[in-house]
C-alpha cells in the first residue's frame, strides 16, 4: 500500500499488505497472518523443486538488474562439499529508493522466511543480511525478529524441525553506497574496503569467503514465501504488460508529487496511473517536467515519455530508461535540471570507490564542469567535453557506478539542452559561486 497512505484501489498489495501493522512484526503475529507457511511447504520439497517453482514464477531481481531469480539460484553448485552462502542485500542506498526499509521495518519475518527458503534451496547453512549502517530502526526490528525466530526454533541447527541447520546473521554496513554492489558488499562483510571485484569469477563459483554465494535484494527474497504458498501460476498472473515482467513491485515515489510513498503495483501498470491517481499528481499549479524512474542511476525521462510508459522492465527500456530499483524521482516544472544533474554527479563522485581511473576522475570532472556551468563560467565546448567524459565512463570499469553517473548527464543534455545553454549563454543568472 502507498505507505504511509492508505491503500489505493489501483494497487495490488502482497508485500506491503502489513505495512503500518505493528502486530505483523512479531513471530506470533506473523504466523497468525499466515506467515512461515511458505517455509514449511519448502522444507517438505526437494531443493530442485523449490528452484523450479521460483523459476516458473518469473520472479526477477528487485535490486536493480532484474536478473531471473530462479535461474540465479540454479547456478549454485550441488554436492560440492563446500560451505555455500546466501547474502541478502539490504544496503538500499540508491537515491530515490526506500522500499527495503519498509519491508524490514514492518514485515521482518517475511524477509527471514524468504532467506530461510533460499538457504534451504541452495544448500546454505548461514545467510548474512547486510543492512546499511544508517538503518538503525530497521536493524532493531530485524534483530528482534531474528532473536524470536531462533527462540521459536524456526532458525537454528534444526530449522522448523527439518533436521537442517539454517542460520541468519545480521551484518551492519558503515556508510558507503558502493557496498550495495554485490562484490563490494562481499568484501565489506569480509572486513575489507568496499571495492567491487573483477568478474569472473562470479559469486556462484567464488563469492563470499571465496565460496559459492548467491546475493539477492530484500524485496526479491520477501516475495519468495508468497510464491511458495500461492504458486508460480498465481505470481505469473500478476502481470499487466510484458509477460517477462511478472508479479508485484514496490515503487518508491519521491520528489514533487502530492503523496510520496511506496506503492505496490502489478508490473505493467501505466506510469500515468501511478503518478496521477495514486500519488495525487504534482503540487497545485505545477506540471510534470521529468522522471528518473529506476533510482538515480538510470536515464532521465521527459514528461511525455513518462506519461506514456508502462512500469515494467521492458516498458521502461522501450522509453529509453530502465526499471532499476523502481525508486522514482519526480520533478515538476520548477526544477532546475542542470542543478539536479550536477547534484547527482556529485553523489557519484562522493561515492566512487576510486579504484578505476575512468570513474574516479570521470565522476569528479563531470561534477566540476557542471558546477562551472552553474556558476556562469560554462563554455559551448562543455557539451562535447561532458559527452566525451561520459563515453569514457560507460562500459569501461569494474562495476557500473561510473555508467550510472554518465546516464543522467547524457540523457539530461539530450533532453534538456536548452537549460544548459541558458547558463552557458549567460541568459540565466548563476546559482553557484566557485570557490
Amino acid at each position: 500500500m502507498g505507505f504511509p497512505h492508505p491503500s489505493h484501489p489501483g494497487e495490488t498489495v502482497v508485500l506491503s499488505k502489513h505495512f503500518g501493522d505493528a502486530g505483523a512484526r512479531t513471530h506470533a503475529g506473523w504466523v497468525e497472518r499466515g506467515g512461515y507457511e511458505g517455509l514449511r511447504k519448502a522444507l517438505g520439497m526437494t531443493p530442485e523443486a523449490i528452484i523450479e517453482v521460483v523459476k516458473a514464477s518469473g520472479l526477477r531481481g528487485r535490486g536493480g538488474a532484474g536478473f531471473p531469480t530462479g535461474l540465479k539460484w540454479s547456478f549454485m553448485p550441488k554436492d560440492d562439499g563446500k560451505p555455500h552462502y546466501l547474502v541478502c542485500n539490504a544496503d538500499e542506498s540508491e537515491p530515490g529508493t526506500f522500499k527495503d526499509r519498509e519491508i524490514m521495518r514492518w514485515t521482518p519475518h517475511a524477509l527471514i522466511e524468504g532467506c530461510a527458503i533460499g538457504a534451504f534451496a541452495m544448500g546454505v547453512e548461514r545467510c548474512y543480511i547486510y543492512i546499511r549502517g544508517e538503518f538503525t530502526e530497521p536493524w532493531a526490528v530485524m534483530a528482534e525478529a531474528v532473536r524470536e525466530a531462533y527462540a521459536a526454533g524456526t532458525l537454528g541447527d534444526n530449522a522448523m524441525g527439518s533436521g537442517k541447520p539454517i542460520h541468519i546473521t545480521l551484518h551492519r554496513g558503515a556508510g558507503a553506497y558502493i557496498c550495495g554492489e554485490e562484490t563490494a558488499l562481499m568484501n565489506s562483510i569480509e572486513g575489507r574496503r568496499g571495492n567491487p571485484r573483477i568478474k569472473p569469477p562470479f559469486p556462484a563459483a567464488a563469492g563470499l569467503f571465496a565460496m559459492p554465494t548467491t546475493i539477492n535484494n530484500v524485496e526479491t527474497l520477501a516475495a519468495v514465501p508468497h510464491i511458495l504458498v500461492r504458486g508460480a501460476e498465481w505470481y505469473k498472473s500478476l502481470c499487466k504488460g510484458n509477460p517477462k515482467s511478472t508479479g508485484t513491485k514496490l515503487i518508491s515515489v519521491c520528489g514533487h508529487v502530492q503523496r510520496p510513498g511506496n506503492y505496490e503495483v502489478m508490473l505493467g501498470t501505466p506510469m500515468k496511473e501511478l503518478l496521477y491517481d495514486m500519488c495525487g499528481g504534482m503540487r497545485p499549479g505545477r506540471t510534470l517536467k521529468a522522471v528518473i524512474p529506476g533510482g538515480s542511476s538510470v536515464p532521465i525521462m521527459t514528461a511525455e515519455e513518462a506519461e506514456s510508459a508502462l512500469l515494467d522492465y521492458e516498458g521502461l527500456i522501450e522509453k529509453g530508461s530502465m526499471l532499476g530499483s523502481a525508486g522514482m524521482i519526480v520533478m515538476d516544472d520548477s526544477t532546475d535540471m542542470v542543478y539536479q544533474i550536477m547534484r547527482l554527479a556529485r553523489f557519484y563522485a562522493h561515492e566512487s570507490c576510486a579504484q578505476c581511473t575512468q570513474c574516479r576522475e570521470g565522476t569528479a570532472w563531470t561534477t566540476r564542469i557542471l558546477e562551472r556551468i552553474l556558476s556562469g563560467k560554462g563554455k559551448e565546448s562543455d557539451f562535447d567535453l561532458l559527452l566525451d567524459l561520459a563515453d569514457n565512463m560507460t562500459g569501461t570499469t569494474i562495476c557500473v557506478l561510473s555508467d550510472s553517473c554518465a546516464a543522467p548527464v547524457v540523457s539530461g543534455i539530450r533532453k534538456f539542452r536548452g537549460e544548459f545553454e541558458a547558463y552557458i549563454r549567460r541568459e540565466r543568472a548563476p546559482v553557484l559561486e566557485l570557490a
Partner: protein, 169 residues
C-alpha cells in the same frame, strides 16, 4: 576542525576486555575467520568511545590478527566511522537530489543556525552538536530525513528544527 593525527588520553584504556571481549568472541562463531569481525568490532568501539582513535585502531588490529595500517585503510573507507571526536549529538542531514528537490538545503541552514555549528562539519562551541551533510539516507519519500546519533527522524522542515534540537540536551 583539523584533520591531523588525533590521539587519545594516555594511558590508553583497552576497549576489548571483560564483557566487551566476550561479546566479540561470541560473534566469532558466526564467521569463518576473524577478519570478518572488523566492521562489527569497529562499531563496538564507536558505540563505547564515540570515535575511533589511532590507539583503538592498533588494539582492534591486535585483537583480530591484522596490521594497524590495514585496519586504518578500512576505517577510512567508510563514512560513518569517526576518526576524531565529534559533538555529543552527531547530526546527519540528507542533501541528495530527491531531498534537495524538497527543500533539504533550507533544513541544513536551520540546523546550522539553531545548533550554533555555523558550518557543515563543525562542532558547536559547547560540544553539543556536530552537523554534517550526507548522501541519500534511504528515506527519500520522507524529505528531509535527519539522523541525530542513532535516532532517525523523518520529514524535518526548518520550522521543526528548534523543537527537534530541544530533545537533545
Amino acid at each position: 576542525m583539523s584533520a591531523g593525527h588525533v590521539v587519545d588520553a594516555e594511558p590508553y584504556e583497552p576497549v576489548f576486555t571483560g564483557e566487551t571481549m566476550a561479546e566479540l568472541e561470541r560473534r566469532f562463531a558466526e564467521y569463518p575467520n576473524k577478519q570478518a569481525l572488523l566492521l562489527p568490532a569497529l562499531w563496538m568501539v564507536q558505540e563505547r568511545r564515540g570515535w575511533i582513535s589511532e590507539s583503538t585502531i592498533s588494539e582492534v588490529a591486535a585483537v583480530l590478527g591484522l596490521t594497524p595500517a590495514y585496519v586504518k585503510g578500512v576505517v577510512t573507507f567508510y563514512t560513518m566511522y569517526h576518526t576524531h571526536p565529534v559533538g555529543r549529538h552527531f547530526i546527519q542531514v540528507c542533501t541528495t537530489s530527491p531531498c534537495g528537490l524538497c527543500g533539504a538545503e533550507d533544513t541544513v541552514r536551520a540546523l546550522l543556525e539553531h545548533t550554533g555549528c555555523g558550518e557543515v562539519g563543525a562542532t558547536s562551541a559547547d560540544g553539543r552538536f556536530t552537523v554534517v551533510e550526507v548522501e541519500c539516507l534511504g528515506a527519500c519519500g520522507f524529505a528531509t530525513p535527519v539522523m541525530v546519533g542513532d535516532d532517525f527522524i523523518e520529514s524535518v522542515t526548518p520550522e521543526k528544527v528548534p523543537e527537534l534540537l530541544a530533545r537533545y540536551p
